[in-house]
Symmetry: C2
Subunit: 341 residues, 2 copies
C-alpha cells in the first residue's frame, strides 16, 4: 500500500483564555493514497483560521452542543489541490475547497469538496470573500440587517474578514457606513481603501461613553449595527440606535477568550430595544450554506470586476497555524487571515 | 360661565428611585362646562396606573424624546362617564375611554374618546384586557413572539396586567407555558386560575443560576420568552433559549426605579443569540394602536364567553393614585391595577 506523509495539527488542550500554540500538537500520519470509489486525494494550499474556532473550544454549549473534541485535527476550511481523483469532474491540479481541517493532506469523498474556478479570482478567496466569510457578510447584512439606502450602518470589527465586506456591501446599498476598528492604521485603511464614510478607532477610547459620543457626533444615530465584537464597543453603539434599528449579532470576538465560559458583566441595555422597537438577530454562516450559489452569483462578478477590496493577510507555513489563530485575537492583520502551505 | 371642580394629580418632582406620593401634588381647578362644537364633558370612573409611567419619568430619552413634563397632569388612560355631549353618538351616561390623565373631570373633543359597550364586559376592562394591556399582550405575543403549538413560552411578570394575558393567549395557541412571578400566592394563581403548565417564584431564588436551573428542569428550553421584567429574571431565561427562539421585550420593570438613568450591570449574553440564531424584538403598545379593532374582534368574544381570566385589582379613591402607582413596583396585586373614582 502506497502512503503519503500527512502532517496534522491536533487540538490537545482547552484554552482558558487566548488560544495559541500550547493548545496544539503537530503530528504525522501515513495516509494511504488508495482511492475508493468517489474519493479524491488532495494537498492543502491555504488553510483558514477563523474566530469561530475559539467559540467551539468553549466548555459550555455554544452553536454546537459539544465543544471541539480534544485529540482530533483542528476543524478548518481549506483550499487544496487535487493530487489524485476517482471522479471525472475533478482532475489532478484542480483546486477545491472543503472543511478538511489543519492538515497537509486528505483523502475524502468528492461530495465534501467544492470545485473552484481560478479564472474568477485567486483560489484563496474561497476561504474569504467567495467563501464562508463572504456568505456571512452578504446574508447577515441583507437578511438580518435589511439596510436601506440613506441609512446609517455601523460595523464593528470593520477591518476583519467579515466586517470589511459588510462595510463595502452596505456602501453599495447606498448606506452611510461607519467602521469601528482597533488602531489608526486599520482606520486609515477603512477610510482610504474601503471608502467608508467614517472610521473610528475604539482603542483611542477608554470608556464606552466617549466612544459613543464620537459615533453619535459623526452619525447622529444608528439604523443597522452589524456586530462582530461585542463588549465595550456594543455598549457604546446600542444606546445610539434609531427607531426600528436592526442589530445583527455575527460575532462577539471581545468575549471569546474566556468570557463565553464565565460571562463578563456589562451595562443592561434591553430598555433601549423597547424604546426604539429594535431587533437583535443572531446569525451564523451555516444558516445560509444552502444559499452559497446565490451569494456567489452576486458577489463573484463584483470580485472579478475589481469592485470589492478583499485584502488577505497571508502567513507562510503549515507550522504557523496555531500562531496565526492566536494572531486573530491579538494581531494587526486586515481582511482575511490565511496560512499558505 | 358654569364651572365644575376638577381635581388633578400634578407630576411635580422627578423620582430618583421608586415613584410615590412625594412626586405628585393634588390640585383643583375650575373647569368650564361650556361645550364647543364636538366637545364632551366627562367624569372619571376608573383611572389607570401603568409601569410605562415610570419609564416616561426617566431623565434620559426613552420612547419619547423628552420625559413627562413637570407641573402637568400625570398622563394616564381613563374610563369616564359622559356628563354632557355636543355630539349625537355620545349620550349622557355613556362610558368612554381615553388618555385623559389623573383628573376627575375633562372637557375634550370627542375624537380622543372611544365609546365602550358595557354588554361585552365591565367598562373597566377598557383599561385592561380590552385596552392597552390587552393590545400589548396580543400583538406582542402573536407578532413578535410568533408562537407555535407545542412550543415552550416563558412569561416574566406573568401575574401582571400584560403577562397574565400573554400566558393565557399562549395556552390558547397550544403552547406549554411557564409563568414567572414574585411570591407563592401569585404562582398558585398562575397554576390554578390561569391553568399554566408551570409557575416559578423568582423570589425563592437568590441567583440567576438556581432560577435558571429550575426553569430548565421544568421546560427543557425556551422557544419564546415574553419579558416584562428584565434584570435577574432575564439573566436566568436567556441562556436557556432554543434554536431560533424569539425574545419579546415588552417591559423591563426591574430596571425602572433608577436603572434606566444609570444602567445596572448584568452578565453579557449576546453570544447566546449567536449560538441559537435567536431574535430579540422590542415592542410598545403604540405600535399596534391602529390594529385595536383587530384585537377587540378576537379578544372581546373570548372575554364575553368567560374564557379569559382578567383579574382587576381595584383601589378605591382618587386620592390613592400616587400610592397605587407606587404599588405597581412594590405590591402584591394580580392582573390590572386600577383606581376607582
Amino acid at each position: 500500500m502506497t502512503t503519503i506523509k500527512n502532517q496534522q495539527w491536533i487540538y490537545i488542550r482547552h484554552p482558558d483564555a487566548i488560544v495559541g500554540p500550547e493548545h496544539y500538537e503537530l503530528r504525522s500520519e501515513a495516509l494511504s493514497t488508495s482511492l475508493s470509489a468517489g474519493e479524491v486525494l488532495v494537498e492543502a494550499q491555504y488553510i483558514s483560521v477563523d474566530p469561530y474556532m475559539r467559540i467551539n473550544q468553549s466548555l459550555k454549549p455554544t452553536y454546537n452542543e459539544l465543544p471541539h473534541a480534544l485529540n482530533t485535527v483542528q476543524t478548518a476550511g481549506v483550499v487544496a489541490r487535487v493530487l489524485a481523483s476517482s471522479v471525472p469532474h475533478l482532475a489532478v491540479g484542480d483546486s477545491v475547497e472543503g472543511m478538511l481541517g489543519w492538515q497537509t493532506h486528505a483523502r475524502v469523498h468528492h461530495s465534501v469538496l467544492r470545485k473552484l474556478d481560478p479564472s474568477i479570482a485567486p483560489v484563496s478567496t474561497a476561504l474569504g470573500v467567495l467563501g464562508m466569510p463572504g456568505r456571512t457578510a452578504w446574508f447577515g447584512l441583507t437578511e438580518s440587517g435589511r439596510p436601506h439606502a440613506g441609512e446609517v450602518v455601523v460595523v464593528s470589527g470593520a477591518a476583519g474578514a467579515v466586517g470589511s465586506l459588510v462595510a463595502q456591501f452596505a456602501k453599495r446599498h447606498g448606506c452611510k457606513v461607519l467602521g469601528i476598528a482597533g488602531g489608526k492604521a486599520k482606520c486609515t485603511w477603512l477610510n482610504e481603501s474601503l471608502g467608508l464614510d467614517w472610521a473610528v478607532d475604539y482603542k483611542a477610547h477608554s470608556t464606552a461613553e466617549t466612544l459613543a459620543a464620537e459615533i453619535k457626533a459623526l452619525t447622529g444615530g444608528v439604523d443597522v449595527y452589524f456586530d462582530n465584537v461585542g463588549g465595550m464597543v456594543s455598549d457604546a453603539v446600542i444606546p445610539l440606535i434609531n427607531r426600528r434599528a436592526r442589530i445583527v449579532i455575527c460575532g462577539s470576538i471581545s468575549q471569546y477568550s474566556g468570557a463565553l465560559d464565565q460571562a463578563e458583566m456589562g451595562p443592561r441595555f434591553l430598555h433601549h430595544m423597547l424604546y426604539q422597537r429594535a431587533t437583535i438577530q443572531g446569525m451564523l454562516a451555516r444558516d445560509y450554506l444552502h444559499r452559497m450559489d446565490e451569494m456567489l452569483a452576486i458577489v463573484a462578478p463584483m470580485v472579478k470586476a475589481g469592485e470589492i477590496v478583499f485584502e488577505e493577510s497571508i502567513v507562510e507555513g503549515f507550522n504557523q497555524l496555531p500562531v496565526a489563530l492566536n494572531n486573530l485575537f491579538t494581531g494587526e492583520h486586515r481582511g482575511k487571515l490565511l496560512v499558505k502551505i
